[in-house]
Assembly symmetry: C2
Homo-oligomer: 213 residues x 2
């Protein structure tokens, strides 16, 4: 299973939430294809890969589909997540409104700057020294790295040694972990650079990494 397949599944799910709000009860592969920007065949292929099949006329029941996708995506239970580094990006993630409906809960932030500490907030910001103990005590398995690039590798090692298994890294450096750790490196600078490349070479359209090709 590729990252792109999972991204597509997440996008189908998000589109389904919106359609559900609009009163949709049934949905067709063409609808989801339009919403996500892939072909209907891709939608059907993705679903059949996970044993999800439509009815005779090719439609799916929205509620069932949401439930199945959430189960596949591991979102049928709440996942607690910590944020390390509470600068602009870390704070953005701590305040991201879309997580709650995804059963994701940011439970604490950590920083080395004492000016940032605030243990009384709804999502407390604690000193970095306390991160290891916090992760062990609360059984945290997922964390976000939003520290400067020079600090990122060391922070990663502390997180992993404390028991964290999945990491979203915003530091502009390609972090590598041990075999049993999942790391998703997101470099916001590169995302902008890609656009500049495309407009300078007159390639147009939505930059699409979602269709297997």
């Amino acid at each position: 299973m590729s990252k792109r397949t999972i991204i597509r599944l997440s996008k189908y799910k998000n589109a389904l939430y919106r359609l559900k709000k609009m009163g949709f009860v049934k949905v067709f592969s063409d609808n989801l294809a339009d919403a996500v920007g892939v072909t209907p065949a891709q939608v059907r292929k993705d679903f059949s890969m996970f044993g999800i099949s439509g009815n005779k006329r090719g439609g799916y029941t929205v509620a069932e589909l949401v439930e199945k996708l959430n189960k596949i995506l591991g979102k049928d239970k709440v996942q607690d997540v910590i944020v390390v580094g509470t600068g602009h990006i870390g704070t953005a993630m701590m305040n991201y409104r879309g997580f709650e409906k995804e059963n994701i809960r940011i439970v604490a932030g950590f920083d080395i700057d004492p000016a940032k500490y605030n243990a009384d907030e709804k999502i407390p910001v604690l000193q970095l020294d306390k991160m290891r103990g916090y992760v062990k005590e609360h059984g945290i398995r997922v964390g976000i790295i939003a520290v400067p690039d020079i600090a990122a590798q060391q922070v990663l090692e502390i997180m992993v040694s404390a028991g964290i298994k999945g990491i979203l890294n915003f530091a502009p450096i390609n972090l590598k972990g041990e075999e049993d750790t999942v790391i998703n490196n997101v470099n916001l600078g590169l995302e902008l650079e890609n656009i500049i490349y495309f407009i300078n070479t007159d390639k147009k359209g939505v930059i699409n990494e979602d269709t297997d090709a």
Copy 2:
């Protein structure tokens, strides 16, 4: 040319900057493969696609390679960029330190909240009404959308009508534009969700979208 190819080229370039700082004069495809997490064959394939060839022993000159990659990526001249929406993510982008060395300059932010206006800052925050005029006057071609999802499509339309050709969208909605517009949709929530899926299904390692497969 796929988005992934461009991302790899950007990553090679970033690795080369670091190696140059460390005193490297020559570099081999194996070095870049290690730094970026792809195979040496992929590095050579990417380079040869753009007419970049190594010397007899398979090495490349760092300085030449940086220059060629910057030219391919359209970074031999400064690109001015605006940010629309100056919440946490917009502010993070306005303060992102990595842009300068990439010849990217964030020149202004725009918001509908008067409390955010600050025309005297180094990077001014102006009212959204002024965006269209600013873009036209300064010939801006690239913009970042960091507004809530319900406002994103309208903001996109204003930007495009003012002359913007490339857009990095952080609103958690899949924006679509006209044929001559490049849109890169980045959904930070999905990036975190991917990790949770992976750790829940016991798939491990770096989530890698960089290798064509």
